[in-house]
Symmetry: C2
Subunit: 256 residues, 2 copies
DNA sequence: TGCATGATGTGACCCAAGTCACCGTCACAG
DNA sequence: CTGTGACGGTGACTTGGGTCACATCATGCA
C-alpha cells in the first residue's frame, strides 16, 4: 500500500528515462527530508548522502540484519516498516521497537561502532536505503544539525526503551497490552462520539512478541479487557470507550 | 571510601586557601577529564563547564531526581555511584542502569528536551556536579568531539538497555542472575587458579531490583546456582569456577 | 472444489515465581 | 547488654502465565 506510493514516485521521476530501475537522487532527497535524522540538512548535503545510498527491498518477514552481525551503516526506511527484536534460544521473539516509514533504523552501531544490537526484519514489503556509517559520522562532524538530530533521536529511543523495561518488569500482561492499545489510540486513533477507534493490523502472535508473552495469553488478555469494558473489539477493529480509563488501568497497582 | 579520595584532592588543592569549602575548578577539570563525555574537550572548554557546574552531595539512598520531573541538565558523578530506576505502583523497583564514578548521568533529557526518564538515587555517599543543559548543547554544537562522545555514550546505553529488555523478557531468573554475575566477573573479577573471584557489594534486595524479581527468589536462585556448581559463595564473596560455563547457562534455552 | 496454511479460540495442565509468615544473625545505638 | 532494624534463609501457599492439544474459520491457491 505504501509500496504503491513509492511506485507512483518512481514512475513520476523515471518514465522518460532509459534505465527505469534507477531511483533518482531527487526522489531520495525527498524521502531523506522526511526523516527526523536528516531533515535539517541542506539539499547539497542530502544530495551527497543520496548519491552514496544503496536501495534494498524486502518482503514481509525478510531479515534485514541479524543481531551481533558486523554493522556497516544504517538504513532509511522509505516505505513499509521494520521491527527490531531479539530472539531467545527457543525461538520466542521480543520486539524492541518498530519503525514505520519514513525514518531511520540501526543508528546505534553507527555511533558506538559495534555490531547490530538486534535483529531486524520487514513487517511488510519494505524499501530501504543503506548509508555507510563513515559517511554519516563525517557528515555529523561537519554539520552539527545532524549530530543534534541524532542525539535527540537516540535520547528518545533510550527513553522508550526504559519504558519498555519498566512495563516488562513491573506490569502484568493485561496492563502491558492496555499500554500498547493506549499508545496506538493516541497515535493513530480516530475519535468518534463512541470513543477512540483504532485498527490494529497485528496478529495475536505479533502482539505477543511486543508485550513479551505468547499468543494464547494475548487472546485471553483481550477477552478480559473486553469483559471489563475497557475495550470493544471485533477482528482487527478496536473501540476504546474511554482513553482515561484504560490509561489508569495500565498504570494501576492491582489490575481488577 | 571514594569519598575519602575526594577529601584528599580537596585538601591538596585548598589547604592554603581561606575559603576551604570551595572545590577548585582545576580539580573539577581533572574529574571531567575522566568522563567519557568530556574527555576529548580542551582544558579551556572544560574550564567553562567547570565554572558553571554546581556541586551536589548525596547520602546513601538519597534521591537525585524523580522520573518525569522537569530536567534542567545532567550530572557528573565525581565520586560514589547512582542507580537509575523505575518504581511500580506497589513500590517494587526495577533498576535501569547503575553508574559509578567517574561518569555522567541524565544525558537523555539534555538532548531530547524532556523530563527525567527515570528516578535516580545514590547507592552510597556520592558527589556530583550539575551542568545546565543549554550549556551542554551549546558546547556540543561548537565542539563536535562532545557531540560524538555523547552519541557514542547514548548508543552504548541503548545497546545495554536492549539487552536488559531481552533478558527480562526472554530469560528466567536464574539466567538473569547468572548474567549479572558474569558481567561483574568480566568487569571487576580477579582471576585466580580456582576461577574468577568477585565481591558483590549488593544486598539480595538490590540484586532483585536489578534482575526484575524479589528478594526471596534471589536467595533461592543463588542456592540453585551453587548446587549446580556454577558459583561458590559465602557472604558477599563469589567464586566463579568457570566463566564459560556460567555464560553458557545464562544463554541457554533450558536451564537445567 | 478441495486442500493447505495461518489466525484465532478454548480447555486442561503445570510450573516458575511472587506472596506471606516467621526465624536467626549481625551490627550498632542507647 | 539489650533493643531495634537490616539482612538473609526457608517453608507453605497461590497464581499468572506458559505449554499442549484441538477445534474452528477464514483465505488463497492449485
Amino acid at each position: 500500500m505504501t509500496q504503491v506510493t513509492v511506485t507512483e514516485h518512481f514512475l513520476k521521476f523515471s518514465f522518460n528515462k532509459a534505465k527505469i530501475h534507477i531511483i533518482m537522487p531527487d526522489d531520495k532527497i525527498a524521502i531523506f527530508k522526511q526523516t527526523e535524522l536528516f531533515r535539517d540538512l541542506d539539499d547539497a548535503v542530502l544530495d551527497v548522502l543520496a548519491k552514496h545510498s544503496v536501495v534494498k527491498r524486502l518482503q514481509r518477514d525478510e531479515i534485514l540484519f541479524l543481531a551481533s552481525e558486523p554493522a556497516k551503516g544504517l538504513f532509511v526506511i522509505a516505505s513499509g516498516s521494520v521491527r527490531a527484536f531479539r530472539t531467545s534460544a527457543d525461538g520466542r521473539e521480543q520486539v524492541i521497537h518498530v519503525e514505520r516509514a519514513v525514518t531511520t533504523i540501526a543508528e546505534v552501531p553507527v555511533f558506538d561502532d559495534g555490531n547490530y544490537p538486534s535483529t531486524a526484519a520487514a513487517e511488510e514489503p519494505t524499501t530501504l536505503y543503506f548509508l555507510n556509517k563513515q559517511l554519516i559520522l563525517k557528515t555529523a562532524v561537519e554539520h552539527p544539525q545532524l549530530a543534534l538530530a541524532a542525539l535527540k533521536l537516540l535520547a528518545s529511543r533510550l527513553r522508550r526503551c526504559a519504558e519498555l523495561v519498566e512495563t516488562l518488569s513491573l506490569r502484568e500482561v493485561g496492563q502491558r497490552l492496555a499500554s500498547l492499545l493506549l499508545e496506538e489510540a493516541r497515535n493513530n486513533g480516530t475519535k468518534t462520539e463512541r470513543g477512540t477507534e483504532i485498527e490494529l493490523r497485528l496478529t495475536h502472535n505479533q502482539l505477543a512478541a511486543r508485550i513479551g508473552t505468547v499468543r494464547e495469553v494475548v487472546t485471553r488478555a483481550l477477552i478480559r479487557l473486553q469483559e471489563q469494558g475497557l475495550i470493544v473489539h471485533e477482528g482487527k477493529e478496536f473501540l476504546i470507550p474511554d482513553i482515561k480509563v484504560i490509561a489508569a488501568y495500565a498504570e494501576a497497582e492491582n489490575s481488577e
